[in-house]
Subunit: 334 residues, 4 copies
């Protein structure tokens, strides 16, 4: 029997992706929850059979929703999450509203007041590879940002193993496809401005940075993050530079990853000296990781790649949903 | 000594192109005429040395403008053209405001009233290959649309030669890069909607159709025009289908073109059976024409290609300007 | 219990697609059949668990193959199909080797001798929407070409209904993504030659033309086919022009399609006056069809869109396989 | 009066660019020097009026060549440079053949013997911003690599000013368009492999690295260079990370650049905190440089952008040619 899962923001890129995954999910059925101007989404969801309802708490009972995915901006998530939780639904929020631990931190990075601060304490950060057990019992899951997903999966095992010379600094040169900016009309992301171009748009202070700090234990001064735009639809590739404390080979670094990720269904490790490209992860929920190292100097480079709309958004959200609802973690995702 | 030429709408794609051509022009110097929100154009025109002035009639005297290019929407052109003309400048208008012959025709295709209808009678249609002498003495030149430029240059010699069976219909399957839609924020032209896509967006009733009819003599029922979007920045390629009255070879059709265009500096003809692609014309003022024919059945295909921002807009405007001001027709364009 | 299905040519674009679909198929399991230089395909098929075997008849028994998909060039298909058939496997051939009815026709269009001509008589043309019952019992299924799939699905119902004035000619202006040319190193399809370009590469005489003639009943002189390259990875969009015998509305044409395709799982019809773009069909097995018409003149335009690697190749091959093996026709495809 | 300049390799991307620039050059006229399979280049050079001659020493006298540009592979340059020099022509070599100082260094990085080693001593490294006077008198000019041009122009002033903590390491995360790989058929650079992808292809050991070391004074262990492929035609953007010895603002770094580059015609500096994108430099001979810094920690990021076919190849070659032949340095380039 199918479980009904609501999707708010179903006409955005991550919303469309979520509806698609739920449509292929053996135990779930999507319900489109209409909020504001979602009419435009119709074209992308031509298959007429998908149920629709208003994005209101009443729809939880009326449609029998066990869970709701919020593919929305933070301010919308702060407005809707309390209502859906109160109505009894599990909520997976794809915005940044519940990722940081305190209202002060939120204000510092998002430049606005948090209007649902009482929920921060109970929100679980939904990076299953590290918080799987917490996600299992969670009612409010905060889905990680796309950039931090790729960065944390690459950095955390190496930091835990004490391999990285943090004082020498960790540099994450990140590149993203345009869908990461969401589905909206802006001159900056119009076709002619993006095609045949490449541009860096954020240095040091991207709002995804604190997610990396709080998960990796790095200090802000130790982590340099650059966000850059590739003229493609989807995909994030991060080239991460650091120094090891001691001479280390790429194979030894891969051993650290293998020990950590041996049983992970969505992490793929590359042979030492090989790295992923974006085609390898497009339309999948995988995070692919490869390493190059110069043992003579301790210089190391990790390349981490995901599809920003899948492992970086809707795919990871369904992975979290699967854990929260007791389904197989990979259901709908392979 | 340099002649000053004003450009209104210098931050749009055709405006940027016009300023660039004028900057390379041996006899001209561009002056940016600021109208409404042109601040954004600064980034594209970083070379600081270009003069600036308000887009008002006073600037004609103050800046010594011999001519003004209006790279603007029709409603702005209808507002500004009379003022600049009254102030003594030659005006080349790149919008559709002065292309059609009557206010009624304008209203029928542009869905709004013409607010400068008294100028229609004196406006010269600036397709130099056919109206060169009129352009030479003109004070108001209406620069042709991008699609009609490619279509008229392909069709007119063959219609004049009586080669085309008009009753059988002429089909123009046209494809354009995205810059043809102008520089503005729309969801439809955002990168993720356009990349890896191809879409037809206008059938039969594109507002460029009447320009083809009035130049070629075709009836509306005889000319089927389809406009389609290619995921590229610039370029128009038209695949034009028709039937010849009698068996005809591609070489015989090329002979008709050769007779017409032998001395034209901006028309390039291909060997019979060969056709241009868009790389051949990118960043040039050329219109490239090639022909394929099946003599057994009279079926003919002409491929006509231009750069929509050059021969389809700014380049042709400068070509017209050169004629109007008595310069070499190719100055700045080769 | 899973049925084993071999794939020859698994490192080409349609082969990769076929392996992917079989991997998601509830009743099938892919076996990679190695033929010549397939090593390069490894990178695209990193998931190590897929079985491998030589592309020889012995593998049918050794691996328990019920069927083999030939994602190969015609000359390879002519060599391998007889062997796999003799060994007891159902064969679905994605090349053009068995699409035409006679060796003479094959030689005329493919410019080489047919080396397995005795199989032509028993090969079933695998367009399920019209030959479903024949496919059900077939042992050798010839998968249609990508262009003819989109064209035949659009044209055949209208020709059957006697709606098209054939003497006036049917024009199919077809555009395809680059993957249609296969996975190989050519200067013509290198990135820098294709990006920001659009080019027509075949007029009248594409080898897919006879597939349209034999299915639609059109004469060669009545059907003008142009093949053009879009700078995208995947997708075919055909803009088809014809004249109706009598005044007809788009809605009336859609009624003809509705009557024919009401129960088809992979045909989607658009509202009269609306047409599909390529995003609508990307990564799906759908053929989307829309119509625009000018009743006053009888001029009609049909837009037909598919993903050339799915409905135009691997997806349709699995659809045929499902029919031949008695599975649900949509298994693995939705 | 025009000076004749030969171009060998005129059908490659940098050769086409060189011919184009020479065609617009007020004092030069290109002569296509045919070497091996250059027939394919015809399509790109349709303007029939360009002279042609064999790529042999005799053509120097026969065509009155003052100079020859070698847009060729290193092994061809090593074969032809001695011949053209002996015949009296100035040679600008765009390959890597004469960039390194010794045959041993050449063999270490290019993995083959140097076959014209006696010319190494007299070859001048053609980075005009630093070797202008040497270039003026040179007969053999070695045109810098594309990556090193962007890197050296960014790094050298800061290293000279003693601003960079070399021991902390300099990281150059470089991204290039596909034309940097040359015009040839490879699967790796075919459209479908590149579009919607992003890939890193060289870590630490790219053959352009020694050009940066020898110009900047950095040790190999201090300079980490990563080469990555962007799905665009042309452009190189390098994101360069380093630590300053002491707290420094972006404005202070820009002051160092301003002092060095105040009179340079082809260096454009950005306001502190702003950085260039690739559209800013496309089809120009500019190198654009911008800086972001975090004074609290000494972390600095420089973004350096060029068009790899212009300032990174043909444009810089003409700039060198202008110096060597005594023309205005910017002739043909603005």
């Amino acid at each position: 029997m199918s479980v009904s899962v609501g999707v708010v923001g179903f006409s955005g890129y991550s919303g469309v992706e979520a509806v698609g995954i739920l449509g292929r999910h053996p135990q779930c059925e999507p319900v489109l929850l209409e909020h504001r101007a979602d009419v435009d989404g119709l074209k992308l969801l031509r298959k007429a059979s998908v149920r629709r309802a208003p994005a209101s708490a009443n729809s939880v009972a009326a449609e029998g929703l066990r869970a709701v995915l919020l593919c929305t901006a933070p301010e919308v998530s702060m407005e809707l999450a309390p209502k859906f939780l109160a109505a009894g639904a599990v909520v997976v929020d794809l915005s940044g509203a519940f990722r940081l631990r305190t209202p002060a931190l939120y204000k510092a990075w998002y430049k606005e007041e948090h209007t649902a601060a009482d929920l921060l304490a109970s929100a679980v950060y939904g990076l299953p590879e590290f918080y799987r057990n917490s996600v299992r019992g969670a009612r409010l899951i905060s889905n990680p940002g796309c950039y931090p997903t790729a960065a944390n999966l690459a950095l955390r095992p190496l930091l835990a193993a004490g391999l990285i010379d943090r004082k020498a600094g960790v540099i994450c040169d990140a590149k993203s496809g345009v869908s990461g900016a969401g589905r909206k009309a802006t001159l900056k992301n119009s076709f002619c401005e993006v095609t045949e171009n490449f541009s860096a748009y954020s240095f040091f202070n991207h709002r995804h940075v604190p997610e990396v700090l709080m998960n990796s234990g790095l200090e802000e001064a130790e982590f340099s993050f650059t966000a850059q735009l590739i003229p493609i639809d989807r995909g994030i590739l991060e080239t991460i530079y650091f120094r090891a404390w001691k001479p280390v080979t790429a194979a030894e670094i891969m051993d650290v990853y293998s020990a950590q990720y041996a049983d992970e269904p969505f992490i793929r490790l590359y042979q030492a000296g090989s790295v992923p490209d974006l085609h390898a992860v497009a339309h999948t929920n995988f995070c692919d990781i490869g390493v190059v190292a110069d043992p003579a100097t301790g210089r190391c480079i990790v390349v981490s790649a995901i599809d920003n709309l899948v492992k970086g958004a809707a795919g990871q959200a369904i992975q979290n949903l699967n854990l929260a609802l007791g389904f197989d973690e990979t259901a709908g995702l392979s």
